[in-house]
């Protein structure tokens, strides 16, 4: 039984599932076109700071890109595997804190610290995944929530103050003279300098997720989502594909966590908070998690909303409204709604032309 059904009409599904070996000929050039499009988008996107010089909007784009990676990790797991996680903050926060601790407390080089942080987040992802991926339905959701909140509690425990700084968090300080990818610490906090890093990683992750979704493995995990029992009765060991998908998702969240820490030059328990956990899921959902770009769009919108509404305290109100409206009316999120509008417009235009 699906917990979340992707749209079934072909024109509503922007990311059709892959069929290895189904068609020859046209498919090859289609792939080439797609690859070219991705490269074009990437190159154009790199130039964003040239077009948008306003640091406010650039900051939103950058933060949105980073949150987008987290949201996409969550969205991938939710839509492809039917596993909704309210605890991806576990890996996001763990990676952020690991980066902060290894640079600030241990004086490691930032690049090494970053890679180590992703490694730690992914390793914990593997352990957590192995433990919980077999639990069905709501149980999985509650387990992820519990694990995430347990980490939150750990991050504010006075007993761990030397390590975590509890509520004050950790202001990140690189060891003397260290640079990260050619930039020194102050530059990292500058959106126009950080943007190329965030954008590159984002595009990379979107490409990875898309390729995985369209691969044979992607079809396998969809089958497990659609009917886990039948998949087992077809000879599949369903644990492994689910675990691998979870690990990919956890790694994405860890990467996002490191990027977050890099840009903010500061980590606080907020990275583990319930609000962060919930809001990242909502961003992915509202954006439209059946696609790879949906969660990113949702994340950018959320960051924008956060900037505009943060002071008023009404962010949660609008986030809640967005969630309810999306599930009730826009089942495939904003991307889905836009795609439907586009198909509708195309149909209207076409019928007009043929009259």
């Amino acid at each position: 039984m699906t917990t979340f059904s992707p749209p079934t009409e072909a024109d509503q599904d922007p990311v059709p599932s892959g069929r290895p070996g189904a068609r020859r000929g046209p498919r090859v050039s289609r792939r080439a076109w797609r690859a070219a499009a991705v490269v074009a988008v990437f190159v154009i996107g790199l130039g964003l700071p040239v077009v948008v010089s306003n640091p406010y909007y650039l900051g939103i784009a950058t933060d949105g890109a980073v949150l987008g990676i987290l949201a996409l990790s969550i969205g991938f797991l939710a839509s492809r595997c039917g596993l909704i996680s309210l605890g991806h903050t576990t890996f996001f926060g763990l990676a952020a804190y690991t980066f902060a601790i290894s640079t600030t407390n241990w004086g490691w080089a930032p690049l090494v610290a970053a890679l180590f942080a992703v490694l730690v987040g992914s390793a914990v992802g593997a352990l957590v995944g192995a433990a919980i991926v077999r639990t069905p339905g709501i149980g999985f959701l509650v387990l992820t929530l519990a694990i995430g909140q347990a980490f939150y509690q750990l991050s504010v425990q006075t007993a761990l103050r030397p390590l975590t700084g509890t509520y004050d968090g950790i202001p990140i300080i690189y060891a003397d003279g260290q640079t990260m990818l050619g930039r020194d610490q102050a530059d990292m906090g500058d959106a126009s300098q950080f943007w190329p890093i965030a954008w590159t990683v984002l595009i990379g992750f979107v490409v990875v997720v898309t390729l995985v979704t369209r691969s044979r493995f992607g079809r396998t995990i969809e089958a497990v989502r659609e009917n886990e029992e039948r998949a087992r009765f077809s000879g599949l060991n369903t644990f492994t594909p689910r675990l691998l998908a979870f690990m990919l998702s956890a790694t994405g969240a860890s990467v996002a966590g490191v990027l977050f820490a890099l840009k903010a030059n500061y980590v606080s328990p907020n990275v583990f908070s319930f609000v962060t956990a919930g809001d990242s899921v909502i961003a992915a959902l509202v954006g439209g998690w059946t696609t790879a770009v949906g969660p990113v769009i949702g994340a950018v919108l959320y960051v924008f909303g956060q900037s505009e509404l943060g002071a008023t305290g009404n962010l949660q109100l609008f986030t809640g409204i967005a969630l309810v409206v999306t599930i009730a009316f826009l089942r495939t999120g904003i991307v889905g709604a836009l795609t439907s509008l586009w198909s509708l417009a195309r149909r209207v235009l076409l019928t007009r032309r043929t009259r």
Partner: protein, 284 residues
């Protein structure tokens, strides 16, 4: 370990018991986790705060459950029924969003400050329990929870409606085939669940004070208790509530850093060992 500490644990567990029974009822009947239950509790507390001035504490204790029961009915008619054919997860997420909306609207109405609520004058003092004085009000909370627990049990086990609720929780399709009016039952359960949340909120108001974060703060413990207790098991939720309440309060005295992890360790341990929860009849 003093008697006072133990009783504090029981008092907290008692509040959790009342609140979680409501959530367990709803979960058992509809199969949906009502993430807005913390918001309903919060609503009860704020309504109690609002009514205490005019009606006194006892009046507030009547008004709050009534108002939240109406809110529960609104939830049933406005959310659960129209979205009946959607998956449980989707409906659960909608309640999650509603919780955010309700909690913010409450703060927009009543403000960000912590609001004090005076308990009933008659229960302001202490009572001697095993030689030491203990606040009478907290004993009242415990007593109320005990009465509600017994009442709920008798209702579920002995009455026909209770039988219908238990049957539908076990097997909704079968119950409907056998003639149970599931829609009417849902309405009743949402009203009762709401009322219980309202009572818990009103009772908590003098004890914990009324503040913007209270809805979110109580949601996770309540969720954990219901899931640990098991799907469709009100008794399981009640037991888990007491265990958590006592365990957490006592643990806080001995080893606060570790105890804070207790609810999470509990739910993780139980779910991994028994995905149905301890007394559950269906998989969570």
């Amino acid at each position: 370990m003093s008697i006072a500490n133990l009783l504090n644990g029981v008092a907290f567990g008692a509040l959790l018991l009342i609140l979680s029974s409501g959530l367990a009822l709803i979960y058992g009947l509809r199969g949906v986790i009502n993430f807005a239950h913390g918001a309903l509790y919060m609503l009860g507390a704020y309504v109690a705060y609002q009514s205490v001035g005019a009606l006194g504490f006892w009046g507030a204790l009547v008004v709050a459950p009534l108002v939240v029961a109406v809110a529960g009915v609104a939830l049933e008619l406005g959310v659960f029924r129209p979205l009946e054919h959607r998956s449980h997860v989707e409906v659960g997420l909608v309640t999650f969003g509603l919780a955010m909306i309700i909690e913010r609207v409450i703060v927009l109405i009543w403000g960000e400050d912590t609001l004090p609520v005076e308990g009933p004058g008659g229960l302001a003092g202490t009572v001697s329990v095993f030689g030491s004085g203990y606040p009478a009000y907290r004993l009242f909370i415990i007593a109320t929870a005990a009465v509600m627990a017994v009442g709920l049990f008798v209702w579920l086990q002995r009455s026909r409606t209770g039988l219908h609720i238990r049957a539908t929780s076990q097997d909704p399709e079968m119950a409907e085939i056998l003639g149970v009016n599931v829609s009417r039952l849902s309405l009743l359960v949402m009203a009762v669940g709401g009322a219980l949340a309202g009572v818990a909120g009103a009772l908590a108001a003098p004890y914990f004070s009324v503040q913007p974060s209270m809805g979110q703060a109580i949601l996770i413990p309540v969720l954990i208790v219901v899931v640990v207790g098991g799907v469709g098991s009100v008794g399981g939720a009640m037991t888990a509530a007491l265990v958590l309440g006592i365990g957490q309060t006592l643990g806080n005295v001995w080893a606060p850093s570790v105890t804070v992890l207790l609810p999470y360790v509990l739910v993780i341990g139980v779910l991994l060992w028994r995905p149905t929860g301890i007394a559950g009849k269906r998989v969570v």
